[in-house]
């Protein structure tokens, strides 16, 4: 099979060899470092799978509050059907009497199944690549989308400063940002990825991640490139605001070239046409290209199902399951599947009882997923009780910061206490 590292470093060497020559003297240190780093790695020990520096985390955000009870279905509980007379999904093997369909088996002994549209996840489960974390939430749950999303993204119940991934980089990198360390896809950078020092690269689609003055008149392009790739001018004080902007401008050009070249390549496998699949396809292309990115962020919205939930929720979950399956297949074809862990979360689940409009209102704890060959597959933790409720809502059984702790310590091999402002019980979900 192809060796993405060796292939990449040769390309990088050629590309940056040219860049170095043409910009002698003004190039920021990180380009030289990363070029040399990649070269020596390729020469030394190419396919060092499992070495922490090569590990990648992908975060998939389900925006709007995904209905956890209809995602991971407690079909063994009569309380579930009492609370959800029309939305209740039938047990596996049953006949579909209602419109809600029949669950896919997840854990027969616990009476837990997957939403019928999650065939992609079911396949990942059977393949030993899916872990389900039950009852993930936090104390004094906030039912505002914005506040609860900020809490999840900040990794703190008092969300004010940076995001948890941003703090991970800030702590890991001694005050120097890691170029291309964090990449998010979407119109704006999610709080989770923003640190004091570390800033994500963020783009919605690669053809917008560039200057468009050249489309107006291609004749301007040469001058634009010269002005923005010049780095810090010799007359400019290195710590000044101008120098900061000149460095960022050069970073932007380099990242733009890099990313647009990476995502232009035809993927190795076939992909569904959904928007989440489009995002994950770009992520897989960047991983294939050998970018030194440690954390990627993708998202899908539309889970705020207050009314007429059945059809919309089924379509959304199908998109999620199919896109995640395609992503794992692509990684496998690339030979990168051992390097990547994917975390799927939503800002809250929904209320246990369905509402008068065939939907569900904002709730609390819900399952999260971890996907990859490093996970211990199956169901982890306790499904929250459907009887012992807090004002009609589930009580969380796993603090979300414990899930982050597992990801940080057991996958990224970074201490978590400083990032999370404390230690939280960690699920044993990632194999050592």
């Amino acid at each position: 099979m192809l060796d993405p590292h060796a292939a990449y470093s040769r390309r990088l060497f050629i590309r940056h060899g040219v860049t170095l020559a043409s910009l002698a003297g003004t190039i920021p240190a990180f380009i030289q470092e990363s070029a040399l780093g990649m070269v020596s790695q390729a020469v030394g020990n190419p396919g060092r799978a499992g070495v922490p520096e090569e590990r990648v985390l992908v975060i998939v955000q389900l925006g709007g509050g995904n209905d956890g009870l209809n995602t991971v279905v407690p079909y063994g509980s009569s309380d579930y059907y009492a609370a959800r007379p029309t939305l209740g999904i039938q047990a596996p093997g049953g006949t579909s009497r209602g419109q809600a369909g029949v669950a896919l088996e997840l854990d027969g002994t616990q009476g837990i199944g997957l939403h019928p549209s999650l065939r992609g996840l079911k396949q990942l489960l059977d393949d030993g690549q899916l872990a389900v974390l039950q009852g993930v939430g936090y104390p004094n749950p906030n039912r505002s989308h914005f506040t609860s999303m900020d809490i999840w993204q900040a990794g703190s119940t008092n969300p004010r400063g940076e995001g948890w991934i941003g703090r991970y980089f800030d702590n890991a990198c001694n005050g120097t940002p890691m170029p291309e360390g964090a990449v998010s896809i979407g119109p704006t950078a999610p709080l989770a990825m923003v640190g004091k020092v570390q800033k994500p690269i963020n783009f919605e689609s690669p053809d917008l991640f560039r200057w468009m003055g050249g489309d107006v008149d291609a004749g301007m392009d040469g001058a634009y490139q010269a002005l923005n790739r010049a780095g810090v001018l010799p007359e400019t004080a290195p710590r000044s605001q101008a120098a900061f902007l000149m460095r960022t401008a050069l970073d932007a050009q380099v990242s733009s070239d890099r990313i647009r070249a990476a995502v232009e390549r035809t993927p190795l496998t076939t992909w569904p046409g959904s928007d989440l699949a489009r995002q994950l396809r770009m992520v897989s292309a960047m991983i294939r290209d050998g970018m030194k990115t440690r954390v990627y962020y993708a998202s899908i919205a539309g889970f705020d199902t207050h009314a007429g939930q059945l059809g919309a929720h089924a379509r959304n979950l199908q998109q999620v399951g199919d896109a995640l399956l395609a992503f794992q297949n692509e990684l496998k074809a690339q030979g990168n599947h051992d390097r990547v862990l994917t975390l799927v979360f939503s800002e809250f689940g929904r209320r246990v009882a369905q509402n008068a409009s065939g939907g569900t209102d904002h709730g609390t704890a819900a399952p999260s997923f971890l996907i990859g060959s490093a996970v211990r597959p199956g169901v982890h933790g306790q499904h929250p009780s459907l009887r012992d409720l807090d004002n009609g809502d589930l009580k969380f059984t796993q603090d979300f910061r414990g899930v982050y702790g597992a990801v940080l310590e057991d996958w990224l091999q970074a201490p978590s206490a400083k990032v999370l402002g404390g230690t939280y019980p960690k699920p044993k979900v990632i194999r050592a």
């Binding site: 505002s144 914005f146 506040t147 900020d150 969300p159 004010r160 119109p187 704006t188 950078a189 709080l191 800033k199 994500p200 690269i201 963020n202 783009f203 053809d207 917008l208 991640f209 560039r210 200057w211 468009m212 003055g213 489309d215 107006v216 008149d217 004749g219 301007m220 040469g222 001058a223 634009y224 010269a226 002005l227 923005n228 010049a230 001018l233 007359e235 400019t236 710590r239 605001q241 101008a242 900061f244 902007l245 000149m246 960022t248 401008a249 970073d251 932007a252 990242s255 733009s256 009314a307 008068a356 409009s357």
Partner: protein
């Protein structure tokens, strides 16, 4: 009135066009070369007064009267009873009717807040009183409330008008108004702050973020006691309302003083502390003088302290403070030119004002501000926008550059080929000052002049040469098209992001 030595004014004869441009960029949103020349002609004190004493210049803004205060009007008692009845009897039809109605109102309200964003951007671009808008923006970032929590556009509008009314007035008066403002009450939960069950949110932020600064001169106990003083401040029918029954009239001990303080008593205690003028002057300094990414130098510390002393001496009046700062030698020092990274709003509004481009679509400008990290009426949290270098990353830099292409050419990424003649922008006036014989503009002189007018700091010769060469090798001169292309490149310079 004697000024502290650190606030010593710039010698009047040093006030030239570069100083006037700097002043107009900072105290407002910049202006055309002709406006800069006119301001320079007023002399230092005249120019500062023209900007600060704006109340003499009328500006009627009719569009503001179009907003509907009643979109989110609460249910009448009758409606509430009908809804409760429907819940009890499980009357799905009625329940769904109310839900549809609520959804309709919320959608209309979200539409109205979008209109308000566009309205305010237009106001900033058009107003003959730019400092009024700039200070309104300052207070919005300082007393930061967001629509997504307040969920009622009319409250955001009322608060915006409050900031504008007190933009350059008295700080103490503004604070007393703000703690009663319905938007603030909602945002920081003071409607739930009652005798016997205090909510500390407003008390904490009032000291930490609005007046004293985090950990400066107050304790957790002061927050608790202060919260009791704020009990009963709530709102009714979108107006401030004091609920006497919810107010805790008991004895409180705040900063070591004991008494049955009410809200204004608490505010008086806060404002008497030296940390307060110091904190406000630090924030004003970062906003108007230098955003000091690596902390303040000794000189800067001394200037800020002198400003704080002056602020106290002026009894918290903002106009004399701002006048002293804008006229000071320190403000005009070359080291403070280009020392601030433009906020997204500054970038957009300044470009429209300084190049006099068409406004294009206010919706596009407003969403671009959001993409660049500054969605008006939606600061990220109660701390407001961090500002400075936090505005800039590789993505926002491309958005900033592309937005300038859009303003100058009218082109968005989805458009097809550009026809310069169709875009309705005449840029010729920008080079009037360097027209020679037969109204001709020599390209080297023209490009150099455009660079000087556009950038906060003197242009590097290499930059000017690159842009000039790009035009001349393609046979372009200083006609409309050539000027616009030169501006596309100038505004794509990293240093164009500086103010």
């Amino acid at each position: 009135m004697k000024l502290p030595p650190q606030l010593k004014p710039l010698p009047a004869k040093q006030f030239n066009q570069d100083c006037a441009r700097h002043l107009l960029n900072r105290a407002g949103f910049g202006g055309t070369p002709a406006q800069v020349r006119a301001l320079a002609g007023m002399g230092l004190q005249g120019a500062v007064e023209a900007l600060v004493d704006y109340q003499d210049r009328p500006y009627a803004d009719a569009a503001a009267q179009d907003f509907d205060p009643d979109i989110m009007v609460p249910l009448t008692q009758q409606e509430q009873q009908a809804l409760a009845q429907a819940r009890r009897s499980g009357d799905q039809e009625t329940l769904q009717k109310y839900e549809r109605e609520r959804n309709r109102r919320q959608a209309a309200d979200r539409e109205q807040i979008r209109e308000m964003r566009k309205w305010w951007l237009r106001r900033m671009i058009e107003s003959p009183r730019p400092l009024e808008e700039k200070m309104t923006l300052f207070w919005h970032g300082h007393f930061a409330n967001g629509y997504r929590t307040v969920e009622e556009s009319w409250n955001m509008f009322q608060q915006n008008q409050l900031f504008r009314e007190h933009a350059t007035g008295n700080f103490a008066r503004l604070v007393r108004k703000v703690i009663r403002d319905p938007s603030m009450i909602k945002y920081l939960d003071n409607d739930q702050n009652r005798r016997g069950s205090p909510n500390e949110n407003l008390s904490r932020e009032l000291m930490e973020l609005f007046t004293l600064g985090e950990g400066r001169g107050y304790t957790e106990q002061d927050i608790k006691e202060g919260a009791r003083a704020l009990t009963g401040l709530t709102f009714r029918d979108n107006q401030p309302f004091f609920n006497q029954g919810a107010h805790d009239t008991g004895r409180k001990t705040i900063f070591g003083y004991s008494g049955s303080f009410d809200a204004d008593g608490f505010v008086d205690l806060i404002l008497a502390k030296p940390e307060c003028p110091r904190f406000i002057c630090e924030k004003l300094y970062r906003f108007f003088v230098n955003d000091a990414p690596e902390g303040f130098t000794r000189t800067q510390e001394a200037f800020i302290q002198a400003a704080a002393d002056h602020f106290v001496q002026q009894k918290g009046e903002l106009k004399p403070l701002l006048k002293a700062v804008f006229a000071s030698e320190h403000f005009h020092h070359p080291g403070n030119r280009g020392a601030i990274i433009k906020s997204p709003v500054q970038l957009v509004v300044q470009a429209a004002r300084q190049f006099h481009t068409p406004v294009r679509s206010l919706s596009v400008l407003s969403s671009a501000c959001e993409l660049m990290g500054q969605n008006l009426f939606e600061p990220p949290n109660v701390k407001g926008w961090d500002g400075g270098r936090a505005w800039i990353n590789t993505s926002t830099l491309f958005t900033r550059q592309n937005l300038m292409v859009y303003l100058l050419t009218g082109r968005t990424p989805r458009d097809q080929a550009w026809k310069a003649s169709d875009q309705g922008y005449s840029a010729l006036h920008l080079v009037d000052a360097v027209r020679g014989a037969g109204d001709r503009v020599d390209p080297p002189q023209g490009v150099d002049w455009l660079m000087r007018c556009s950038l906060a700091t003197p242009p590097e010769a290499a930059r000017t040469a690159t842009i000039l060469q790009s035009l001349t090798v393609r046979g372009m001169g200083m006609d409309n098209h050539g000027i616009i292309e030169a501006l596309c490149l100038i505004t794509a310079l990293p240093e164009y992001q500086l103010c």
